[in-house]
């Protein structure tokens, strides 16, 4: 018997647990040249802001051992242009749409949450953890009090499930996770990028024009797995796991740690087909281990107790 790989996440059904990570997949148009986007569990779009944003000056990317740093700085056409110009395009495909929003202020989050609530997007993801912008961004995500304020406010304006995306750049991820849960988050996603830096030793300049940027890719996988594992024990709401997933095995590891859905980001840069390969890899694992339903994996790590 073929294992079931569909997941019910906050009342929304996903045909499979693999989604794309915000900012690595644009609005889907480019990868639609490679495969049918309906094969994906869902698409999380590039981070949106109330107005169009130009983003940071280049260079915006640096390579690191098994990872990358980016400092795109939320270049995007603004939430309205997304709703009118991009969302209808994605909606042609039979897949879930997660709208990722980034604000500088609480009212900005509320305004975007409200607008998206009236659209065909399925889920709202609040990015309170972007390390690549000056105001707002990561600052919100690193202080439990601020997390509570911004999430409880946005919650009032959201008619869709509200996912809060956590920053790994914190001392105690569980404290932040609980603050988001208490404030009414329906789910959490983690991890956003880890703040990092590279310096070109020949020019003595940072490689990135913003000096520092966010680390993602395989290098961060063990940090992501650890945080999923910790947060799973700290909250009751479901989790989206991301950070370094490249293979079905990586995704299974993330699910055993506590993820209901998994997102694939940086790995698409090495191989555009990665999300589908990850989905296939999950299915093969289930078949090999005679597991009939992917949901059985969620949080099923058998931790050592002594």
């Amino acid at each position: 018997m073929k294992p079931s790989i569909s997941v019910d996440f906050c009342g929304i059904s996903f045909k499979n647990p693999v989604i794309t990570a915000s900012g690595t997949f644009g609005f889907g148009r480019e990868y639609a040249e490679f495969y049918d986007l309906s094969e994906l569990g869902g698409i999380c779009v590039k981070g949106l802001t109330p107005q169009k944003r130009p983003g940071n000056p280049p260079p915006r990317i640096a390579e690191t051992p098994m990872g990358i740093l980016n400092s795109v700085g939320l270049q995007n056409p603004g939430v309205d242009a997304f709703l009118s110009g991009e969302l209808p395009y994605i909606k042609q495909f039979d897949t879930r749409v997660i709208a990722n929003i980034s604000g500088n202020t609480i009212p900005e989050y509320c305004e975007m949450a409200e607008k998206i609530s009236d659209s065909e997007a399925d889920i709202i993801e609040m990015n309170i953890s972007c390390p690549n912008v000056k105001a707002g961004g990561m600052a919100f995500g690193t202080d439990a009090g601020m997390v509570k304020d911004v999430v409880s406010s946005a919650r009032k304006f959201s008619k869709k499930p509200l996912v809060v995306k956590l920053s790994p750049n914190v001392t105690d991820i569980c404290e932040i996770a609980r603050a988001a849960e208490d404030a009414g988050a329906d789910a959490l996603s983690l991890i956003n990028t880890i703040l990092g830096m590279r310096i070109d030793i020949n020019t003595r300049r940072p490689v990135l024009h913003r000096n520092v940027g966010g680390l993602s890719g395989p290098a961060v996988l063990p940090v992501a797995v650890r945080m999923l594992y910790q947060v799973k024990k700290a909250v009751k709401i479901p989790l989206i796991g991301m950070g370094g997933i490249r293979t079905g095995s990586d995704a299974v590891e993330m699910m055993l740690a506590g993820a209901s859905l998994v997102a694939v980001g940086t790995a698409c840069f090495s191989e555009p087909m990665t999300p589908l390969l990850v989905r296939d890899g999950i299915r093969e694992y289930l078949e090999k281990h005679d597991i009939s339903d992917v949901n059985e994996l969620c949080g099923a790590v058998a931790e050592y107790k002594d």
Binding site: R29, G55, P58, R60, C268, F269
Partner: protein
């Protein structure tokens, strides 16, 4: 159609102390100026972008220099080994015939896509290619075989004309009416060429370089600043370029 293939290296040639030519199987419609990205070892996440230098009979050729770790890895591959190649990507040079000759300008390792353009362009023209010194000169014969006159410039005068490509280009622009300039090379060179072409009122296309993530237009890391209708904006070198009208680029 963009292809995502594993393909075998068929030929590998050293063109100079630093430049290497690799030919591999890839059957695609490719416009000069388009590029491919190639995986450079399991220990590196990012593919390296390389312009196509030629595409005939189901084979694609790239010419590159080993600059950092990734290209050094690539330079140490041998015929028979497998490469991960994605492409063709981006927009190439506009080469439609308008009856006027074109001026082809290539700086250093920017010469390969210019050669490909020269080969495909039907209205004739002249080429100027520049290098640091004699030992870096590549592709001269092939430009000639593409039916273009070629001036080779070297910074130190150790071969051909002494000086930068700009002076030689200006000499030609003064003499002849060109329909377009097709150019690729270091950013500083492109900026000068853009100014020059503008002052002679010749439309100029340049192929830009920027560090890339996805290479396909999805991640927005390969930003270059362009004069837009509604003000300046960042565009994607990989998808909106790498070829841009020189006039709209904010160097």
């Amino acid at each position: 159609m963009v292809k995502d293939i594993k393909t075998r290296i068929r030929e590998k040639t050293k063109l100079s102390d630093t430049a290497i030519s690799i030919v591999f199987d890839m059957d695609s419609e490719i416009t000069p100026g388009q590029f491919i990205t190639v995986g450079c070892g399991a220990e590196r996440i990012l593919r390296r972008p390389l312009s196509v230098c030629d595409a005939v009979n189901g084979r694609v050729r790239v010419v590159f220099e080993a600059r950092g770790e990734g290209t050094a890895w690539l330079a140490s591959r041998e015929p028979g080994e497998i490469l991960n190649v994605l492409g063709p990507l981006g927009n190439g040079f506009r080469l439609q015939s308008d009856g006027l000759p074109a001026l082809f300008i290539g700086g250093g390792i920017g010469a390969p896509p210019v050669l490909f353009s020269a080969k495909r362009f039907v209205d004739g023209g002249d080429a100027v290619i520049g290098f640091k010194s004699k030992k870096f000169v590549i592709l001269e014969r092939e430009f000639r075989e593409a039916g273009k006159t070629v001036s080779v410039c070297t910074d130190d005068g150790s071969y051909g004309v002494k000086g930068f490509v700009t002076s030689e280009a200006e000499r030609l622009l003064k003499k002849k009416r060109y329909g377009r300039v097709i150019s690729c090379g270091p950013t500083l060179m492109l900026r000068e060429i853009a100014k020059l072409a503008a002052s002679y009122k010749v439309p100029c296309q340049v192929s830009l370089e920027e560090r890339m993530g996805c290479g396909v237009g999805a991640c927005l890391v390969c930003a270059c600043k362009i004069k837009g209708k509604d003000g300046d904006e960042y565009r994607r070198v990989c998808k909106d370029g790498p070829v841009f009208d020189a006039g709209e680029v904010l160097f």
